[in-house]
């Protein structure tokens, strides 16, 4: 075995494809028969191939060749390595020395492959892809490209698989390296490299999208303004991760390990578990903060994010049960939080006990807050239905709901829904009603009390009717009942304020002695009317009715009561005063004046008569 001749052999074979094929075949034959012939006849290939591999390694290491540049060369290298491995595992004692050399060169070959594997995986182009998450157009890119099976060929393209950014070529190299390493028994090195680099890449990608590691301690103490923003980012990151990144990752493993599904799955599921728990920790941290009502909508967002099917659990074995558990635990906590927030809302309503009535009978801020809250909440109606179904066994007791009269619906048409969420809504509305009623009792002026009740009642009904989900929830019957309630208040108001006024304008009772109309009595009536009317005008102009329709309804109904009565009174009894002096003192107003003055009512302005005096 002449060294120099070996060397020239090697170089010759290296350059000559046919010779290479021949020598590989020789080796294959030898390997098949080595058991049988007891290793007596050791062919040349057994000595040459290791040298050949050594030589090729040398080329790679010195940079004369680069793995990935010449596919044929690379393939030959791998083929030779493959044979060397088989050689090294065949147990023929007479070639022990060879075995040591083969194991040695094999190790060097695997080192090289590992190095190349790492350098591809670590490629700055893979890691440092500058993708900015902040710009809106980029977001559109992410969320618009919904295609489930992006073509592999486009992997160089920026949009699809931008995350892995590995060209088809690179993937094929990785696949070949991986296969060889696995066959040769270097599976652990191979998998470790993948696991470590990909985890790091993921972490970087998530950071780039605005999600970094956080401490539970910090998150739990964050102010709501900061936390809100973080939750928004988190939602986007999680969705992006589960819709794009993890799918891309799955495809990557599938392409690199097409023939080793177990490895592909195991690597993937491990990564997924790590990433998901990393992401969920933030949610857990957010849930540690106080469960107050204003946080509802962000928490609902989080719940919705987690509700999406994450990846399709079949791909996640063996980590599927753990990931599922973690996600459902997080969801459960969010459900608890949301249910508690509704309780918090109810308690706030119950405890809103100020002793000072709202000025001018206007809509109370609490009414506004609650109705807007519910309206906004109904945008999440489906989610909230789910949440309350899930939370049903936890917090809500049907007992306190059964006590509400709202349950006693019999008719089908217009019946409110009776899902747990609907019952919650109903109970909140009832509490609000109670509260409004309680507040109305603070008004000593009964008329103002009714105005207040009308204002708030109207606001509530309008809000319900203006929101179809809310309307559905409450049902037509509820609306009708509320409206008839409003009409009742209206009547009460009229009676309270205007019945006495109308008394002044009664056509009867003005006869004095001898059944003649008493001038004195007429004068008194007029004075009475005037002072009452002026008083009412002064006071009730400052009252507030913001709802235009209600305002006009009120004015119209008052007009239709007062003006005809005034007209007929004046028409009937004016003549009796014609002869008096200062008739204007008594019949101060034309009916049209009254009309105009009535328009001042409920404007919330302090008006004086004199300005409007015609």
């Amino acid at each position: 075995m002449d060294l120099s001749s070996r060397k020239s052999d090697v170089e010759r074979i290296e350059g000559n494809k046919e010779e290479l094929v021949q020598i590989l075949e020789d080796m294959d034959v030898f390997l098949l028969t080595v058991g049988a012939n007891g290793g007596e006849d050791v062919p040349d290939c057994v000595y040459v191939l290791p040298k050949l591999l050594e030589h090729m390694l040398d080329n790679y290491n010195r940079g004369r060749n680069k793995f990935g540049e010449d596919e044929t060369y690379d393939d030959s290298f791998l083929d030779v390595a493959n044979r060397i491995y088989k050689l090294s595992t065949c147990c023929s004692c007479s070639i022990t020395l060879i075995l040591d050399q083969t194991s040695s060169v094999l190790e060097k070959a695997m080192s090289l492959l590992e190095k190349d594997l790492c350098s591809i995986l670590e490629d700055p182009k893979t890691q440092d892809k500058s993708f900015s998450f902040g710009s809106h157009s980029d977001l559109c890119v992410i969320f618009d490209t919904d295609s489930p099976n992006p073509p592999q060929q486009e992997q160089d393209h920026d949009h699809q698989d931008f995350f892995t950014n590995l060209s088809t070529n690179k993937i094929s190299i990785l696949s070949k390296i991986a296969t060889t390493m696995i066959v040769v028994g270097y599976e652990t090195e191979c998998c470790m490299a993948f696991a470590n680099f990909r985890r790091s890449a993921f972490k970087t990608a998530l950071q780039r999208y605005g999600y970094g590691s956080m401490r539970m301690d910090d998150v739990s103490k964050m102010s709501w303004e900061s936390l809100e923003k973080e939750i928004t980012t988190w939602n986007q990151v999680v969705r992006h991760c589960t819709t794009m990144l993890l799918n891309a990752e799955r495809r990557l493993y599938d392409s690199i390990f097409p023939n080793q599904p177990f490895i592909s799955q195991s690597l993937f599921s491990d990564l997924v578990r790590h990433v998901i728990i990393h992401l969920l920790n933030f949610a857990q941290g957010a849930i540690l903060t106080k469960w107050s009502t204003e946080k509802l909508f962000k928490f609902l967002d989080m719940y919705e994010t987690l509700r999406e099917d994450i990846i399709g659990y079949s791909c996640l074995e063996p980590c599927a049960s753990e990931v599922t558990y973690e996600i459902s635990t997080a969801k459960d906590r969010i459900v608890k939080a949301i249910v508690a927030m509704f309780c918090d809302l109810k308690n706030s309503i119950k405890n809103d006990n100020e002793r000072i009535p709202v000025a001018n009978g206007a809509v109370h801020p609490l009414t506004r807050y609650v109705m807007n809250y519910l309206k906004y909440a109904c945008e999440y109606k489906d989610t909230l239905e789910q949440v309350f179904e899930q939370g049903q066994s936890v917090n809500i007791t049907r007992v306190d709901i059964y006590n509400d009269k709202s349950i006693e619906e019999v008719e089908d048409v217009g019946t409110p829904k009776d899902s747990p969420f609907a019952l919650q809504l109903m109970s909140i509305m009832d509490l609000l009603d109670e509260n409004v009623e309680k507040k109305s009792n603070l008004y000593r002026d009964l008329a103002l009390r009714y105005i207040f009740l009308m204002n708030n009642g109207r606001y509530i009904v309008q809000k319900v009717k203006g929101c179809s989900e809310l309307h559905d929830m409450m049902g037509d019957n509820w609306c009708r009942r509320r409206q008839s309630g409003l009409r009742l208040y209206h009547k009460c108001y009229q009676r309270e304020t205007w019945s006495k006024v109308l008394q002044c304008l009664k056509l009867e009772g003005l006869q004095g002695t001898r059944n003649k109309v008493s001038k004195q009595l007429v004068k008194e009536r007029c004075k009475c009317f005037n002072s009452m009317f002026e008083e009412i005008h002064k006071t009730q102009s400052t009252w507030m009715v913001v709802d235009e329709q209600l305002q006009s309804e009120l004015r119209v109904s008052i007009s239709s009561l007062v003006i005809p009565a005034y007209r007929s009174f004046v028409g009937r009894f004016k003549q009796h005063l014609e002869s008096s002096r200062h008739i204007d003192k008594y019949i101060k107003y034309h009916p049209e004046d009254i009309e105009l003055l009535l328009d001042d009512l409920f404007d919330g302005n302090a008006m004086t008569m004199t300005r409007k005096r015609i």
């Binding site: 022990t96 190790e107 028994g185 470790m192 301690d217 906590r333």
Partner: protein
């Protein structure tokens, strides 16, 4: 105490027992409560004394520790929450002590997360060791196998050092790739960077958890302040032990001083464990090692020894040397098996502790909230 006659004593005791009966009839549940509180402390002591003193800080030991912790926690909740008027929890000193405890609880969540990451790192070490085991099992043992084993072991030992080094180090080149210095911590094929938040420090966290942990004094020592203190101590001790055992981000400066009362029954087992662990820690801290986890310590020793062997290896090796190595490789393989069997369940257990802590904290908050409402009457 002056000698009393039998009859005096009898009457004295008789008076006491009458009074006791009176108290009992007025508030019979109170005694039961006190008994429960005492039992809780006794149980804590019992549980910790049952932890085996040998095999300290092995994976199996840690799992036992966590089990005991969960039992303590469950009993604590039962004793403090069940059947109790919420307003009791809003009264001083509990109005300060309970929120303190809950704050400690939140900090321990971060420790749980760090330890979980540390266990991931250990899994990597296990894999490296397995490479060495597989390589060195090869018979006949050739240059290539030995080199492979050596590389894996060298990476293992380097990782052990690095895991303990501060997370600021970005240059962890155990890989072969060319590095452009960038700000983000780089991965290498054989390890990955810890991913707790920047500047997070396990030792500082433990230190923070220890602040305000003081035994209740005077008349506070009866009543609920005591079990709250006990639970706080148990929590911090368990977290401290985990940090000592498992490599977590920034453990330098982990305090070894623990303010546990030495004379008190429930604390004694913990104190003795703590002292043993602290001793080990001080020894190893000088050398700068990876963590007191028993399996890792042994792995480190074996790693050094096998690397030595690899350095001096020449094919073919002498038979007796090979025999020796074979034994060590077997030992290493056993450790790997223990890690293979134990690390995953340990990780799951830590996660369970995490979730349990969150759940319990929430239960406490609900009760405290109720208590708060009860103490402020509605208008």
């Amino acid at each position: 105490m002056p000698a009393t006659t039998e009859s005096n004593q009898g009457s004295f005791l008789g008076r006491i027992s009458i009074r006791r009966n009176q108290v009992m009839s007025m508030d019979g549940s109170h005694d039961q409560e006190l008994e429960d509180l005492e039992l809780f402390q006794k149980h804590v002591g019992d549980r910790f004394s049952e932890l085996p003193a040998d095999d300290l800080l092995s994976i199996a030991w840690l799992r036992r520790l966590l089990d005991e912790f969960l039992c303590c926690e469950a009993e604590f909740k039962a004793v403090v929450l069940m059947g109790r008027d919420p307003s009791h929890l809003a009264k001083p000193p509990l109005d300060r002590l309970l929120p303190d405890l809950l704050d400690r609880v939140v900090k321990s969540l971060d420790v749980c997360n760090a330890v979980t990451l540390g266990l991931d790192a250990l899994k990597n070490l296990q894999r490296l060791a397995e490479i060495a085991v597989v390589a060195l099992h090869h018979s006949p043992l050739g240059d290539g196998q030995v080199r492979r084993a050596k590389k894996a072991l060298a990476a293992l030992l380097a990782a052990m050092l690095h895991e303990d080094a501060t997370a600021k180090a970005t240059e962890r080149s155990r890989s072969f790739g060319r590095r452009q210095g960038t700000a983000t911590a780089k991965a290498s094929p054989r390890s990955f960077s810890c991913t707790m938040a920047r500047n997070w420090s396990a030792s500082k966290q433990i230190h923070a958890m220890l602040s305000n942990l003081a035994a209740p004094r005077g008349n506070e020592s009866s009543g609920l302040a005591q079990p709250v203190y006990v639970m706080g101590s148990v929590l911090v001790f368990v977290m401290w032990a985990l940090v000592a055992a498992v490599p977590c981000q920034e453990r330098n400066g982990l305090g070894t001083h623990f303010p546990l009362p030495r004379q008190v029954g429930w604390a004694q087992p913990m104190v003795s464990l703590q002292e043993k662990i602290a001793e080990e820690w001080k020894k190893k801290e000088k050398k700068g090692t990876v963590g007191l986890l028993d399996e890792i310590q042994r792995m480190e020793k074996l790693g050094h020894s096998l690397v030595e062997f690899a350095d001096s290896f020449q094919f073919p090796a002498e038979a007796d040397r090979l025999e020796e190595v074979k034994k060590q490789v077997q030992e290493l393989s056993d450790i790997c098996t223990r890690m293979q069997d134990g690390l995953e369940p340990l990780q799951l257990q830590i996660r369970e502790v995490f979730h349990r802590i969150v759940r319990s904290r929430n239960e406490f908050l609900v009760v405290l909230d109720q208590a708060g409402k009860l103490s402020t009457p509605p208008l």
